[in-house]
C-alpha cells in the first residue's frame, strides 16, 4: 500500500531552502563575495564590542584596588604638586581613615621614545639606587635584573640606577611602563622638594561617606580637586562604552555598510531576480512561497555571515589577543602591554549583534520581492 506522504511545515521549508540554495548557487560569485564582506563587517563590529566589553570588565575589577579618593592641587587650572602639610589636614577630616602623600610622575625616555611612569610605592622593597621595572620597560630598554638603568635627572646629570627585578608579566595591563623606586631617588631625579607630593591618596572605609568627604575637601581647600574611585570607574566606562571613540568609529562604519547593502536590496531586484519571481508565479507558486524563498535567501546570507564573523571575532580577540585592534589603541606608544583579556561570550552582545545584522538584511530582502510577487507575472517578466 502506498503510504500517503503529507509534507509537514518543516519539510516544506526544507524544500524551499533547497530551492533557495540552488538559486543562490546560480550567482555563486556575487553571493559568496557579499557573504564574505558581510562577515567582515560583523567581524569588525563584534571584535570591537567584545574587546571593549572585556577590557571594561577587567578595568572595573582591577580598579577596585584604586585609592578611594585622590586629592590633587590645582594652580592656574593645572595639576600641581601638593604641600605635605595637607596630608595631616586631610587625615583629620571625619570619615578619612588614612591620608598618604603619593609621588609619581612621567619620564620621557628619549632612547626608547617612550613615556615611563615613575612611582614610589608606599613600602618600596628595594634598596636606594634600585628600581623595579615593568615588562614593557624591560622590553623597550632591553634591561634585565642586575643591569644598570641610567636616567637623566632634572639637573641634567645622569643617575645610574640598578634593575632589581621586573614586575611579573601577567600584570602588564597595569604595570608595563612602571618604574618603581625609593622616595629619595625620586626626589633626587625630579628635583621634588621634601615638603611636596604629587597628590594625596585617602582611605575612606565607608563608601557612602566618599561624596561627603570630597565635598568637605573642596570646601576646606578650594584649590584642590578630589577624584573619587567612582569617578575613576566612570572614566573607564566612558572610554570603553559604546559611545567611546573606538566603538563609535566602527559602529558608524558598520551601520553605514549595512545601510548601503540594505538600501541596495530594498531599492529593487535585478532583472534576473524579477524574471525568476515571474516564472515562479507563472508556474503556480503563490506569493507566500515566493516570499518564503526570499526570506530564506536573506537568512542564509546574513546568518552565515553572522556566524562566521562572530566566531572569527572571538578567535581574533580572545585567542590571538586582537592583533588588528592593538595598533589602534597603541597609537604612537612605543611601549605597550601584552595581555590576554578574560574571554566573554555575552548572550546580550550575541543577541544584539544578531538583531543588528540578520534581521534588517532579511527584511530588506523580502520587501522588494513582495512588491514583485504581488504584481502580475506577465508584467513582472516583461518589465
Amino acid at each position: 500500500m502506498k503510504r500517503l506522504h503529507i509534507p509537514t511545515w518543516l519539510e516544506r521549508q526544507r524544500y524551499l531552502l533547497d530551492f533557495t540554495l540552488s538559486s543562490l548557487g546560480r550567482r555563486k560569485g556575487k553571493n559568496l563575495a557579499l557573504t564574505a564582506l558581510y562577515a567582515m563587517v560583523v567581524f569588525g563590529l563584534a571584535s570591537v564590542l567584545m574587546y571593549t566589553q572585556a577590557l571594561r570588565g577587567e578595568a572595573m575589577r582591577i580598579l577596585e584596588g584604586a585609592p578611594d579618593v585622590v586629592v590633587q592641587r590645582m594652580v592656574a587650572g593645572r595639576h600641581d604638586l601638593i604641600p605635605a602639610d595637607r596630608v595631616e589636614r586631610l587625615s583629620r577630616i571625619r570619615g578619612v581613615q588614612e591620608a598618604r602623600g603619593r609621588l609619581w610622575g612621567y619620564y620621557y625616555d628619549a632612547s626608547a621614545k617612550a613615556n615611563l611612569t615613575f612611582l614610589v610605592p608606599e613600602k618600596f622593597w628595594g634598596k636606594a639606587g634600585e628600581v623595579v621595572i615593568g615588562e614593557g620597560v624591560a622590553r623597550t630598554r632591553l634591561a634585565a635584573p642586575g643591569e644598570p638603568f641610567p636616567v637623566l635627572a632634572s639637573d641634567g646629570s645622569v643617575v645610574i640606577l640598578k634593575v632589581r627585578e621586573t614586575v611579573p608579566s601577567p600584570s602588564e595591563l597595569v604595570s608595563t611602563d612602571l618604574v618603581l623606586l625609593s622616595e629619595p631617588d625620586f626626589r633626587r631625579l625630579f628635583g621634588v622638594p621634601p615638603d611636596l607630593y604629587t597628590d594625596i591618596a585617602l582611605t575612606v572605609p565607608n563608601e557612602k561617606e566618599v561624596p561627603m568627604v570630597a565635598a568637605k575637601i573642596r570646601g576646606q581647600m578650594p584649590d584642590s580637586r578630589p577624584i573619587t574611585r567612582a569617578e575613576i570607574a566612570r572614566t573607564y566606562e566612558a572610554i570603553l562604552d559604546w559611545r567611546s571613540g573606538l566603538v563609535v568609529l566602527v559602529l558608524a562604519a558598520a551601520l553605514l555598510s549595512f545601510g548601503i547593502v540594505a538600501w541596495d536590496k530594498a531599492s529593487g531586484l535585478s532583472a534576473d531576480e524579477r524574471r525568476e519571481i515571474g516564472i515562479l508565479k507563472a508556474i503556480g507558486w503563490d506569493t507566500s512561497e515566493v516570499l518564503a524563498v526570499k526570506a530564506w535567501e536573506g537568512a542564509v546570507i546574513s546568518l552565515s555571515a553572522f556566524l562566521v564573523g562572530l566566531l572569527l571575532a572571538y578567535v581574533h580577540v580572545f585567542v590571538t589577543s586582537a592583533p588588528l585592534l592593538t595598533p589602534v589603541l597603541k597609537g604612537w606608544s612605543t611601549l605597550y602591554p601584552s595581555f590576554r583579556l578574560t574571554p566573554t561570550l555575552n548572550p546580550f552582545l550575541v543577541s544584539t549583534l544578531f538583531l543588528l545584522t540578520v534581521v534588517p538584511y532579511t527584511v530588506a530582502t523580502v520587501v522588494p520581492a513582495w512588491r514583485a510577487a504581488t504584481t502580475d507575472p506577465d508584467a513582472v517578466m516583461r518589465s
Binding site: L17, D18, V174, D199, A201, G245, T342
Partner: protein
C-alpha cells in the same frame, strides 16, 4: 546530500564552535581571574589609578587623573594630535 542538509550542517557546526568558544571562555576566564585579582591587589598596594593602555601622551596614560583640557594645555591653541587622544575621551565632568 541535499543542499539544505549541507547548510543545516554548516549552521550546526558553527553553533558547536560557538559552544566550544563558550567553554573556552569559562576555562580561560578562571585562569585570567587569578591574574586580574593579582592586578587589583597590585593597584591597592601601589595606589594605581589607571590601566597602562596608551603611553604615547601623558594624559592618555592616566585619563582618570588628567584635566579635561589636558590635550590643549601644552600651549595656547595647541591641538590634540595623539591618535590615542582621539579614541580616549576626556573624563566625564
Amino acid at each position: 546530500m541535499r543542499k539544505s542538509d549541507r547548510f543545516l550542517l554548516f549552521v550546526a557546526g558553527a553553533l558547536a564552535l560557538l559552544e566550544v568558544a563558550r567553554l573556552h571562555s569559562l576555562h580561560r576566564g578562571r585562569e585570567r581571574n587569578e591574574e586580574v585579582r593579582g592586578m587589583a591587589s597590585m593597584a591597592r598596594r601601589l595606589g594605581l589609578t589607571d590601566l597602562s593602555l596608551a603611553t604615547d601622551a601623558r594624559y592618555a596614560r592616566h585619563p582618570s587623573q588628567a584635566d579635561r583640557f589636558a590635550p590643549f594645555q601644552d600651549h595656547p591653541t595647541s591641538l590634540e594630535h595623539f591618535p590615542s587622544g582621539t579614541l580616549i575621551a576626556p573624563p566625564p565632568p
